[in-house]
């Protein structure tokens, strides 16, 4: 599966893993990873350790997730982005919208 996710025992942390190319083809899979979670005052971690590429539609998907987490009083953390993926996030200044661990 190109998108996997884990939920912590207390249900407060959802971690989403994206494999290889994070682009429009993952639209549904990425949404499915969080949409049914009943997270509240929690955290969604996008772990990009296996992501090799990311395009602007992926940024759009993250914005949809942000809408979701905002409504659930939760936050987003992006971690383990490789250099080129980090650059895409940085050019879009997503560091101003959510936490990006370097």
């Amino acid at each position: 599966m190109p998108v996997n996710h884990e939920v912590s025992e207390d249900g407060k942390i959802v971690t989403i893993f994206v494999e290889e190319r994070f682009d429009f083809s993952l639209h549904q899979a990425f949404r499915d990873a969080y949409i049914d979670s009943e997270i509240k005052n929690g955290k969604v971690i996008i772990d990009l350790q296996s992501t090799t590429y990311m395009d602007s539609s992926a940024l759009g998907m993250i914005l949809l997730l942000k809408d979701f987490t905002d409504n659930a009083s939760s936050t987003i953390v992006i971690r383990n982005a490789n250099e080129s993926v980090y650059k895409v996030l940085y050019i879009a200044q997503f560091n101003r919208l959510m936490e990006i661990e370097q």
Partner: protein, 574 residues
């Protein structure tokens, strides 16, 4: 929205078998499935019949005289229309792995091994028909998508970008991807001849990526024409796109304003790759990176992010690109990237062929690979604008008015606006004044001069009168950036003071006379000393550090300060 059309007309099948008996049996089975049937007795005939009848389905024997089934299948598949599958099923008694593999290799979509019951036959036809229907659905969806992309591209280039200005001086290069990907390039002129340019990249492909293009172009052009500042235009566009676009769509965009009088560049980069300032000796003088999330993401702009001011020289060029340039890939999957980009603009900067060279090099680099994203480049020269823009402003009226004209002066309307500290922070009265003028008097070529006069006077009243900024700060190009920063700071913390603006419009005989009066609540300045000083170093200092009064004087019929220096009255006659 069109719906995939279902064919209600009877389907046609071609049966190819050298045995007449087999042909008859298969034809019978097919007609029970409500197919019309034509037959052929060898591969060669089959091809002829195929070309003539364009059947929806082919049933093909393998061993036949003249031309066998495999060969005929290959030729038929090569001839078949790309928009439909026209499935081909081999009918054989060769029940071996090899027969199966060879059938598929020859282009067959399935195989039926004799003997089979009529139920199995029907099931097979049904399943192959299902695949064929799916195939045509996919094809027609693909065509829809292609049409959308073409429409989007046409919209961008014909409707929106065809209204760009100054294309003889601004170099714009663009190459849409196979599936148009939402790049947009706009240029427009401010009332005083300053140049605004924008390079944008909407997320998504095809029509979806062009939803925001028309409002973007309209707002950018209208607000530029009316004299709004870059910052106000950006704010407005952001707000519009935020309301208009779905959450996951946004606009990565860079704005540039070349200010002719000040020799500076105003820029704002929200989500695009670095913009470059490069001189004609191939030296990269400045890189202006993204400082804000793309527009349409946040309801309002981040408070701490401002338009930046960058000094420029006559021979500089500004280079703006979309990420399609840097991310263009070759067939090994490597990206064009920054190093190649910088090398290319350096080598092409000296002979001013940046845009063209860049496009050529990227194409060369990614030859044999599919172009995944639009390629867009804008190259703006920083100097040489005066000559091309001067024609726009009208020469002022210089004769004295006759006694007769003075006697017949009639006030047609007057208009007054007083702005107090809090409003001055957020409201720019320049477009308000210009739009009042336009609404009352219609479009007029003289309004460019009026705009320049009014802008100079208002900026003086605000910057020097209320904010007490020293214009000497502006005497160097670097100082201008400092000045601008200081100005922003003082303006946002302004708590007292006001500026009054009054307009009087007269008819004097056959002429029109506009009187502009601006009064600020500041301390004023020593008018006589200022004029004396200005006369001393009249030649070069005036351009950067003067209060722009010289310019106003040149453009207007008369100019007078009160003795304190906090009220000014200018008349303009045409």
């Amino acid at each position: 929205m069109s719906i995939i059309d279902t064919k209600f007309e009877q389907k046609l099948a071609l049966v190819v078998d050298d045995s007449l008996m087999q042909c008859t049996i298969l034809s019978h089975l097919l007609s029970e499935q409500s197919y019309q049937v034509v037959t052929a007795n060898n591969g060669k005939e089959a091809i002829e019949m195929y070309v003539k009848h364009q059947p929806d389905l082919v049933l093909m024997d393998i061993n036949m005289p003249v031309m066998n089934g495999y060969e005929a299948a290959k030729k038929i598949k090569a001839l078949s229309h790309k928009d439909s599958l026209a499935p081909l099923i081999f009918i054989t008694s060769l029940d071996s792995d090899k027969a199966y593999i060879d059938s598929i290799e020859a282009g067959g979509d399935g195989i039926l091994v004799r003997p089979f019951s009529s139920e199995v036959f029907k099931a097979k036809i049904k399943s192959i028909q299902r695949i064929s229907d799916l195939y045509s659905q996919v094809k027609s969806l693909q065509q829809e998508q292609q049409k959308d992309a073409e429409l989007a591209e046409k919209l961008m280039s014909d409707v929106i970008e065809s209204r760009n200005v100054m294309l003889d001086r601004i170099d714009i290069a663009k190459q849409p991807a196979m599936l148009f990907s939402g790049d947009i390039q706009l240029t427009a002129l401010c009332p005083n001849g300053d140049v605004h340019a924008l390079l944008g990249d909407f997320t998504g492909h095809g029509l979806r990526s062009s939803i925001g293009a028309i409002p973007l172009a309209e707002t950018f052009r209208a607000m530029t024409r009316k004299g709004f500042s870059l910052e106000q235009i950006i704010k407005q566009i952001n707000q519009q796109l935020f309301h208009l676009l779905p959450k996951d769509l946004f606009l990565a965009v860079a704005f540039v304003k070349i200010s002719l009088d000040e020799d500076v560049l105003y820029t704002f980069n929200a989500g695009l790759p670095d913009m470059y300032v490069i001189d004609n000796e191939a030296k990269i003088k400045n890189k202006l990176g993204s400082i804000h999330p793309p527009l349409g993401v946040l309801a309002s702009l981040l408070g701490d992010v401002k338009v930046s001011v960058v000094p420029i020289a006559e021979n500089d060029n500004v280079v703006m690109i979309s990420d399609g340039i840097l991310e263009a890939r070759n067939k090994h999957g490597e990206m064009y990237d920054i190093e190649r980009f910088e090398e290319c603009i350096r080598t092409s900067a000296t002979d001013n062929t940046i845009a063209q060279s860049l496009l050529e090099q990227v194409n060369e680099f990614s030859a044999d690979a599919i172009q995944e994203d639009d390629l867009s480049i804008i190259v703006l020269p920083c100097g040489g604008w005066e000559s091309s823009n001067q024609v726009l402003s009208q020469a002022p009226f210089e004769q004295e008015l006759t006694i007769d004209e003075i006697d017949n002066t009639l006030l047609l309307w007057q208009w007054r606006l007083a702005l107090h500290a809090e409003k001055l922070i957020t409201v720019n009265p320049i477009p308000i004044v210009m739009s009042q003028m336009q609404e009352l008097e219609g479009e007029n070529q003289h309004f460019q001069s009026v705009y320049t006069i009014f802008t100079e006077l208002f900026v003086n009243a605000l910057d020097h009168g209320l904010l007490e900024l020293d214009s000497k700060l502006k005497s160097t190009a670097d100082g201008f950036a400092l000045y601008y920063e200081e100005r922003q700071q003082r303006l946002t913390s302004l708590s007292t003071g006001s500026i009054e603006i009054e307009l009087y419009f007269y008819k004097t005989g056959t002429r029109n006379k506009l009187v502009i009066r601006i009064i600020d609540s500041g301390k004023g300045f020593n008018v006589e000393q200022y004029i004396d000083e200005n006369k001393k170093h009249h030649d070069n200092i005036v351009k950067l550090s003067g209060r722009g009064v010289e310019l106003v004087k040149e453009l207007s019929y008369s100019l007078e300060y009160n003795s304190v220096g906090n009220a000014v009255e200018v008349s303009y006659i045409w």
